[in-house]
């Protein structure tokens, strides 16, 4: 097997000219209050915290720190809206309000994409082409369900739950808000949502959209804060449903704290997905899939393909091609349209990732990083792969949540499966082969909620998403995502 360089050399000596997205059309306020009962209000504590551009370390804005009293205000507003305007409205009218949100998001898409990249560090190409359009599509999809729920649950009468408390992560800030809010509203609930503390800005802009769409006050409340604020939402006695996306560690705390209550909950937690390459796969496409699987969004993806399993006979070729492909990846300014990998979301996350790079090397694995340059300011991590790892290595077992890939090999399908399933997680998986029968064998046997075959990291509002085992409880998206926000009465 040849492992000679397959690189095309025609562009040696050429550089990409900078192609930054313009920021002159966006408006970010110096300070954002809490969006409660249809208006922005001061936090009771009068305390604010800063949100930083991870690519420059400069402060973008400051947002309110919501206390227990603020959470209580938000829940009360949501309750009042639930028993008042929202539940008195016809289902089709509820749908029309959700359609309005979708339409306004489409109209303001570029503004949202730019702010998402500024606040979270993700490449503009991803926020522009994936995050924001998908968020709008989620609102469209669930808007349509509002007056059609009885068709989704034959033989049952679907009834809304009440007030939903929703806590979302920093990796897909607006998209996760859409995943949470759209089905909750379509099913007739009202919402108290808390964005992550490092990425609150698109949620505050979404609050503007919801205001402009003239939703009745209190139907959606958006409050900012960190873990303590989240705990106040989870533990508030008048919350009927908790939806959380975040780490497995916090998910377990939430599940424990909900024990003994009758609150319904969905948890979308961590992952350590196996991406499995068979020898009969289209190798070049598989290499693209590996890159997309682990380097998409700086690897800040719960379903990232962070464990690579390559069939032994093609392992050398795959790793060789992967290294060459990694050399072409551009790490840098998230607002540049040529950027492939943006900034790590926060200083804390960069520290976590770097600690794992050290652990990996201390455990005896061989580390390879692309030789690209990274900017002086900001938080950056070069695309990284580890070879020579074993099943028990921490970089194979732990979710790193960064652009770090652990590579192992296998000989038979059964061996690949056994290794792939040797994890407490079960969110997603990938299979690369040109044998259809093998795909279905693998999708049947991999213990995970989403399997991608000859593709990776694909998302759609119509497609359910969620994990087996310690990757979570429940599904979001699609018809199945409705069940999380309904009581099914006989």
């Amino acid at each position: 097997m040849s492992t000679e360089s397959t690189k095309l050399a025609f562009n040696d000596g050429w550089q990409y000219a900078p192609a930054p997205e313009s920021t002159d059309h966006i408006r970010i306020d110096d300070q954002y209050g809490l969006f409660i009962n249809g208006e922005f209000v001061e936090p009771e504590s009068d305390r604010y915290f800063e949100t930083v551009n991870p690519a420059t370390e400069q402060t973008l804005s400051s947002v309110a720190l919501a206390s227990g009293a603020d959470v209580d205000r938000a829940v009360k507003a949501a309750r009042k809206a639930y028993s008042g305007a929202w539940s008195k409205m016809s289902a089709s009218d509820r749908g029309k309000y959700i359609y309005r949100i979708a339409r306004i998001l489409q109209e303001r898409a570029r503004e949202f994409a730019t702010i998402e990249s500024l606040d979270g560090g993700k490449p503009i190409r991803e926020s522009r082409d994936i995050d924001i359009p998908l968020a709008a599509a989620h609102f469209f999809y669930y808007a349509g369900w509002a007056d059609k729920l009885e068709y989704a649950f034959p033989g049952r009468r679907p009834v809304s739950l009440g007030v939903a408390g929703q806590i979302i992560p920093w990796n897909f800030p607006l998209l996760m808000a859409a995943w949470k809010i759209a089905p909750a509203l379509a099913c007739g609930n009202t919402v108290v949502l808390k964005p992550a503390e490092t990425t609150p800005l698109t949620a505050m802009k979404l609050a503007e959209v919801i205001r402009d769409a003239e939703l009745p006050p209190g139907v959606v409340n958006i409050i900012t804060g960190a873990g303590d604020t989240g705990a106040e939402i989870v533990n508030h006695p008048d919350v009927n449903k908790v939806a959380f996306t975040g780490s497995t560690e916090v998910g377990k705390i939430i599940q424990r704290s909900l024990a003994g209550t009758d609150k319904k909950y969905t948890l979308e937690l961590g992952g350590k997905a196996a991406n499995i390459i068979f020898a009969d796969a289209a190798i070049d496409e598989a290499v693209e899939g590996i890159v997309n699987g682990i380097f998409f969004n700086q690897g800040h993806v719960c379903c990232a393909g962070s464990r690579l399993f390559v069939q032994e006979s093609v392992a050398e070729e795959v790793v060789h091609k992967l290294r060459e492909r990694m050399e072409t990846l551009i790490v840098g300014d998230p607002l540049d349209k040529n950027t492939d990998i943006g900034a790590i979301n926060s200083a804390a996350q960069l520290e976590t990732i770097e600690s794992y790079l050290k652990i990996g090397q201390d455990e005896g694995a061989e580390m390879y990083q692309s030789s690209c340059s990274v900017p002086g300011q900001g938080y950056w991590c070069r695309p990284t792969i580890f070879t020579g790892v074993s099943q028990s290595n921490r970089i194979v077992q732990d979710e790193i949540f960064g652009p770090v890939l652990a590579i192992q090999t296998f000989r038979t399908l059964e061996e690949g499966l056994t290794k792939a399933n040797n994890t407490p997680y079960g969110l997603s998986g990938g299979v690369w082969t040109d044998k259809g029968a093998k795909i279905f064998k693998m999708t049947q046997q991999i213990r995970a909620g989403v399997i991608w075959a000859n593709t990776f990291n694909k998302f759609d509002p119509t497609s359910p998403f969620g994990g087996y085992k310690e990757s979570g409880v429940g599904r979001e998206g699609g018809l199945h995502g409705l069940g999380a926000y309904l009581k099914l009465e006989t």
């Binding site: 349509g144 059609k148 068709y151 259809g436 119509t462």
Partner: protein, 290 residues
């Protein structure tokens, strides 16, 4: 003229809609639509069998692209039709009034038509999830059944309703990826042509919906018998009409959908089952193994 204050309005020519264009009928014929006081409202095209055949050609050539469009895109386009109809709300109310409907009823009919389009826009990416299945066959096969559009549908729109009946039948046909040829209400034909203008401005590809005006008695046989039409929908008539359509439809085994008793004015007039009626079920078997 000096001293006169009344402006002379420009009357609209009502033409037919074929393949994204607005020709007059090739036959050159017309029928006069009169108001209750006997004055002429419009000279409406009396569409011919040749117009119908041209329309089927347009519908067939549009079918490939439209049926391959994503469910999301079809939903967006239906939503867009509703948006534009909302913007022309007053025009349609005026046209209904011109055709003898009370203003109150006319307003209700236009609003219901807009809401109906929103309703079906919402189904675009959902009916598949309701009617499809993964089938647990006993052998080692992954077996699934999905819906695909039937093809070209001919539609004899409800005669008693100028707009709502038309919209209520076109929407479930096209949201499912079919294309259609429609004969507008004979007694209330105006809104159908204005609706064609709305479709034309809503990113609906030419040929997906083709709308003719003319005489039912003259065209029904064609709508039922054409060999390149896959399904025929009709909403008026009696058992004799039904028998005739059934018989003609048998020439190429068309799906025959008689919608005599549907009340289009209420929520009972909308349902995903109406989408399902112009869909085929396709089942795929695929082995599982290493």
């Amino acid at each position: 003229m000096a001293g006169s204050t009344a402006r002379v309005p420009v009357a609209k020519t009502y033409k037919i809609y074929i393949g994204g264009k607005f020709p007059r009928t090739e036959s050159g014929r017309y029928f006069a639509l009169n108001s209750s006081d006997g004055s002429v409202i419009a000279n409406v095209c009396r569409g011919s069998r040749k117009d119908f055949r041209n329309s089927v050609v347009a519908a067939r050539s549009a079918f490939g692209g439209w049926s391959a469009a994503s469910a999301y895109l079809r939903g967006q386009i239906l939503y867009r039709i509703a948006e534009l109809l909302e913007g022309r709300n007053e025009q349609f109310v005026g046209e209904l009034v011109l055709q003898g409907i009370s203003r109150r009823k006319a307003k209700k009919e236009v609003e219901a038509s807009i809401d109906r389009l929103i309703y079906y826009a919402g189904w675009s990416d959902k009916y598949q999830q309701i009617f499809s299945a993964v089938n647990p066959v006993s052998s080692a096969h992954f077996n699934f059944s999905v819906l695909e559009p039937t093809g070209v549908v001919s539609l004899l729109a409800p005669d008693e309703s100028s707009l709502l009946g038309l919209v209520s039948n076109i929407a479930p046909i096209i949201v499912g990826g079919n294309t259609c040829v429609v004969l507008a209400s004979e007694q209330l034909p105006l809104c159908a042509i204005s609706f064609a203008e709305v479709l034309h401005a809503s990113d609906v590809p030419g040929g997906v919906v083709n709308i003719l005006t003319g005489y039912r008695e003259e065209l029904t046989d064609q709508f039922a018998s054409h060999m390149d039409v896959n399904a025929v929908v009709f909403c008026d008539g009696d058992s004799e009409v039904a028998r005739n359509v059934q018989e003609k439809a048998a020439d190429n085994v068309k799906r025959v959908l008689a919608r005599f008793d549907n009340d289009w004015t209420t929520d009972a007039g909308q349902s995903p089952y109406l989408i399902n009626e112009t869909q085929e079920t396709k089942t795929t078997w695929h082995p599982i193994g290493s």
